[in-house]
Symmetry: C2
Subunit: 170 residues, 2 copies
């Protein structure tokens, strides 16, 4: 049976929620990374993602500048790296270095791949919309990569307060 | 270390992915339900969702007609109901009856709430965009409800082939 509650209270039941790391690289060559929780597939053929990216973030600035980014799925033990990527500002700190993330070159975009991620998707930005209070960036996947370890699992947000963990089916 | 692979192969690493049930009700009074995997939060204030809804689906037709729908989070033991909602066509079958879903009236929209869901979000459609091969419906949440059992957990898609299960943090 359902009980009517405040919307903000009900949305707390959304977990587990996917979390991704988004890399970008400015025209000055400096790479950046941020954590994004609002993301889903937006098209099947071609594969696209839609992502909520704060307009005040350095990542948003770099994506708008370069029209390119990479979506990486952090693996289940990359909690600390993901929290660092999500909790400081990329125009003040080299977050990739601070988080100790290993990178490698992408195939079609200048933003770096995260070597330890479960998978990386190189994206070309095709649009930005803003239906509410957050910019939604739409990217078309132009190349993809997976970790050479096929057993690695994704990291998820499992509860409010940025509680991150791997999950297993019951 | 990353290995370059086909995009379709890499996207198989996306699981676990959230799954929701979307209810709608035609102007003839008949309710419908479908399963949706491409969904994420699209705004924080007000809360909005963006959902990939097949344009050939009966749900898409009803949402376009009524500009209203409900997003329900199925609980982890609603696997069979979710598979039925996702595998037949609502203009041919009463999927709510076929799946044995219990419903109750919503507060602000005519689409029904799913009584056994973890939570229900009443939505007003505010836009439809189509960046790729799938229509993306954007809905603003106008009322919300949670199950009176606070311990119920969401159902997730845990692997390809519509493999559904509850999950637990490791």
């Amino acid at each position: 049976m359902q009980r009517h509650v405040d919307i903000d209270k009900a949305i707390e039941r959304k977990y587990p929620e996917q979390v991704v790391l988004v890399t970008s690289r400015g025209k000055d060559g400096k790479p950046n990374v941020m954590a994004v929780g609002w993301i889903c597939v937006a098209s099947g053929e071609p594969i696209m993602f839609i992502l909520g990216i704060d307009e005040d973030s350095h990542t948003f600035e770099l994506i708008r500048e370069t029209k390119e980014f990479v979506v990486a799925y952090p693996h289940e033990f990359m909690k600390d790296e993901t929290l660092i990527a999500g909790s400081c500002h990329g125009d003040e700190v080299d977050k990739i270095a601070k988080a100790g993330l290993n990178t490698q070159s992408a195939k079609k975009v200048k933003a770096p791949l995260l070597s330890d991620a479960v998978a990386n998707f190189e994206c070309e930005m095709i649009d930005i919309i803003k239906p509410g209070d957050c910019a939604l960036v739409i990217g078309k996947v132009v190349a993809a990569h997976v970790n050479t370890d096929p057993l690695l699992k994704r990291l998820c947000t499992v509860d409010k307060g940025h509680e991150l963990a791997g999950v297993r089916p019951i």
